[in-house]
């Protein structure tokens, strides 16, 4: 709607309007992103009112998460090399004032947007972000309502204006255009996007940054459909791939958060313990945003229940590909109450079944029924975890054979559209089957691994021809199998 408007700080709103008025594209409110004005205000305000909880709450109420945003590049949890790479690109691009292009890709929550914002702040570069506006229907000449402007036209106008014209207010020569929210029309017709890029290349005088998060779902992967290698070549686009945040990075980021908490927020939040941070680090799978969010949730003061357990519970979903380290996963098994079994805990229970003899009959200490209750809302990821981890726990090939057969049944039941109806069968078969098949579990310590090879990798458009050649593109099944095996074969142990 109003994304063509620039920052309007020159009039003072008389009513309590948010300082981060959303439609203004200048300041995105990503929870991990940085808006220094507000937090410096926050900081000052909270220092002056440390004795007064009520006041201080009011100061920070707008967006709690922002209090923990990184201030300088050193605070970023992203790998230092990547930060440097982005920094160098930005420096070079700003000097030449050319329409350089940068593409940032990476998993969800690895700090792509934050990195750009933090570095831009450091070099005093003004970031203008495109936000897909509302479609407004305007009456046309014959009285009918219709969309006047094409999305792509609006988009082009916006990015070129943002790149070429300096705001009256800050007189800042260095500008940067940021696109994260791609208009839908480009997803439907990528060729339109190429045209827009062409125009931009010719007319604009500022660098532009595109940010795409990678997801493993079918279709809608913007980085693949929009930024094909030929597009990248044509526009000499610099491509920086971010990885998930490392354990150490996460840990230091959370340490920073806990320092902030202990300095300013002790009235509302418990200071997180080292254990708690460790748990969050382990279960957030390289996702800083969810890690901070979960820490927020976990150290909330006022709930009397033990924090660790419930914290694990709420993060199961994020552990799609967690990188477990030794001490951590064994610690996990000792945490958690019966009602709140984490996914790792659940995996441990299933793979190390304990049998007790009661009145002459054998019984499992943890009934499969109770285990599956916990995972009804994410059956597939749990079964994937079991599949990844079951083998080292078996001592004989016979039993492993049985386990493989129940898992295959479970997979079959959970496949495709049946999932909704058959999820309980599938889960039960997998869980009970594994527990019963494993007569003498290996007692050695086995770390729980995330199911990294289970993810289906859909081929990119440019890979199609290569696969077709060998007659490999015969439906989804073959192609997924083929690619998955290639991945397994090519998998090196040191690659995370």
């Amino acid at each position: 709607m109003s994304n063509l408007k620039k920052d309007k700080k020159w009039f003072k709103p008389t009513f309590d309007f948010d300082e981060n008025e959303p439609p203004k594209p200048k300041k995105p409110l990503r929870e991990t992103s940085k808006t220094p004005q507000t937090s410096s205000v926050d900081r000052k305000a909270s220092i002056s009112t440390t004795n007064n909880n009520i006041n201080f709450l009011q100061v920070n109420h707008k967006n709690w998460m922002k209090n923990f945003d990184p201030v300088s590049p050193e605070d970023l949890a992203v790998h230092i090399k990547k930060v440097q790479e982005v920094e160098e690109w930005l420096k070079a691009a700003c000097i030449h004032n050319r329409s350089d292009m940068l593409l940032l890709t990476g998993p969800v929550g690895c700090g792509k947007t934050t990195t750009i914002h933090t570095i831009a702040k450091k070099y005093n570069v003004k970031v203008t972000e495109w936000i897909t506006p509302l479609d407004i229907e305007l009456p046309s000449d014959n009285g009918e309502f219709e969309f006047r402007e094409k999305q792509s036209t609006k988009f082009l106008d916006f990015i070129i204006n943002a790149a070429n014209f300096t705001s009256l207010l800050d007189n800042n020569q260095n500008k940067l255009v940021l696109v994260e929210d791609f208009p839908n029309t480009f997803l439907r017709t990528p060729s339109e996007f190429t045209d827009v890029l062409q125009q931009y290349k010719h007319r604009a005088k500022s660098p532009i940054v595109f940010i795409c998060s990678e997801s493993h779902t079918e279709g809608r992967n913007t980085s693949i459909s929009l930024f094909t290698p030929s597009v990248k070549d044509q526009f000499q686009m610099h491509h920086i791939v971010f990885n998930g945040v490392s354990m150490t990075g996460l840990r230091s980021a959370l340490k920073r958060v806990s320092e902030i908490i202990s300095k300013k927020y002790t009235s509302v939040y418990n200071v997180p313990t080292a254990d708690m941070i460790e748990c969050v680090v382990n279960s957030s799978a390289g996702d800083v945003r969810s890690a901070v969010l979960n820490l927020h949730f976990a150290c909330l003061r006022g709930s009397n229940c033990n924090l660790e357990t419930s914290m694990i519970l709420e993060k199961e979903s994020k552990s799609k590909a967690p990188k477990k380290k030794k001490q951590a996963s064994s610690k996990f098994l000792s945490l958690g109450k019966d009602q709140t079994v984490s996914i790792l805990h659940g995996v441990g229970r299933v793979l190390n079944p304990k049998v007790i003899v009661e009145n002459g009959t054998q019984r499992l200490t943890h009934a499969p029924r109770d285990v599956i209750e916990q995972f009804l809302s994410n059956p597939n990821s749990f079964v994937n975890f079991l599949e990844e981890n079951y083998l080292p726990h078996f001592s004989s090939a016979d039993q492993a054979d049985k386990a493989a057969s129940v898992l295959s049944d479970a997979d079959y039941m959970l496949a495709e559209w049946r999932e909704k109806m058959c999820q309980e069968y599938g889960l039960y078969t997998a869980v009970a089957g594994l527990m019963l098949a494993n007569k003498n579990p290996v007692s050695a310590w086995n770390p729980v691994r995330g199911p990294k090879n289970m993810k289906i990798q859909y081929p990119t458009p440019q890979e199609f021809p290569a696969l077709d050649q060998n007659f490999l593109y015969k439906g989804k099944v073959l192609i997924t199998d083929y690619q998955t095996y290639c991945k397994i074969i090519g998998n090196k142990p040191d690659v995370m």
């Binding site: 003061r301 069968y425 019963l436």
Partner: protein
């Protein structure tokens, strides 16, 4: 604009507690389904998942709630929790500051882009630490495109608007959204929790009931409190008395005792006895799918060794899949019986 979206859930709730049904004019609640009449209005009334609920209650007091996703099976109180949270946070401005959309509303890309954004941009005067709330019920049925369109909106308006999503399957929610929300998991309610609630409702409605009748309601509900209350109301309206026969008549399910004896026969490898029961059920006109899912429910609580149960459930699951694929002939049921008998026989050698 949010008004008509909200009122569906919010029927005439001037009095915060539904427990005071007598205090309200009889007219207002007499024609309500019990699931609405007894929908909890405050956190303390919510059955089950106490840990998570108590944590949310803290947010309700202090504000600054994060975006949340509540995932869990149907009928465990996901929507109720979110509504309670919204009510506790917003109080009187509930009607203005809540936008509720569920699967029955159109939630394509356009709605997410226009309606939700428009709502997020609206100015509503709220106390500090309180935010407008967008409730997306059954979020797992949203298309991926719509979810993608949502993710940036979520951040852009995070200073004014919070999102609360409810979903049965959290895997259906795209990762970028999961990353922006605290995911809370609800587990199924235990039979004891449902039993207590059902009895409470019976007493409030001054209903005559037998203990078996109430447990029959609990059995038909399978951890789904909403189903329990619906079945209870249906029984009460139809017969005025809750006894097992009435409950199974109203819910029109194969009687679990019959099914149980059928399963026992299978475990004893007596296929004739088992088939007689199945033939009877088929003759009564039950659909194959209903019979199979009923067998599964009974089987879960069957008093048999775990390995027998596993073998049976595996066969039932495979049969259910065939039935779902469209093969719902009685032959499938006969085949199921035969395979169950064989599984029971083979379990000593197989496992």
């Amino acid at each position: 604009m949010s008004d008509d979206d909200v009122t569906i859930m919010e029927v005439d709730e001037a009095v915060p507690k539904p427990t005071k049904s007598t205090a309200k004019p009889a007219k207002s609640t007499a024609h309500l389904p019990w699931i609405e009449k007894y929908r909890p209005q405050v956190f303390t009334d919510i059955v089950g998942n106490e840990d998570t609920v108590s944590r949310l209650a803290v947010f309700a007091r202090t504000g600054n709630a994060p975006n949340i996703i509540i995932a869990g099976p149907p009928g465990v109180g996901k929507t109720t929790t979110i509504l309670c949270l919204a009510r506790a946070l917003l109080g009187a401005s509930f009607k203005d500051a809540v936008l509720e959309l569920n699967a029955s509303n159109d939630r394509g890309i356009d709605v997410v882009r226009n309606k939700i954004k428009m709502f997020a941009q609206q100015k509503v005067t709220l106390p500090a630490g309180r935010h407008k709330i967008v409730i997306l019920d059954e979020a797992d049925s949203m298309t991926e495109g719509a979810q993608q369109a949502l993710r940036r909106t979520m951040e852009l308006y995070s200073s004014t608007t919070r999102f609360a999503l409810a979903a049965n399957n959290s895997e259906k929610i795209i990762e970028p959204i999961q990353s922006r929300c605290a995911v809370l998991r609800y587990s199924r309610l235990t039979d004891a929790q449902i039993l207590a609630k059902v009895i409470e409702v019976c007493e409030k409605e001054q209903l005559s009931y037998t203990e078996e009748g109430v447990s029959a309601v609990v059995f038909t509900a399978q951890g789904d409190l909403r189903a329990a209350l619906n079945n209870l109301q249906a029984t009460a309206q139809g017969f005025g008395h809750v006894s097992p026969e009435h409950v199974f008549r109203v819910c029109d399910e194969p009687h679990p005792m019959l099914v149980r004896s059928m399963l026992d026969a299978c475990v004893k490898q007596d296929i004739h006895a088992a088939y007689k029961i199945i033939a009877k059920l088929c003759k009564l006109g039950y659909a194959t799918e209903d019979i199979v899912s009923n067998i599964f429910r009974v089987c879960k609580t069957l008093d048999a060794p775990e390995d027998t149960r596993l073998a049976l459930i595996r066969e039932i699951g495979l049969t259910h899949m065939r039935v779902a694929d469209g093969l719902s002939s009685p032959l499938q049921l006969a085949g199921l019986l035969a395979r169950m008998c064989r599984a029971a026989a083979a379990r000593d050698t197989h496992w």
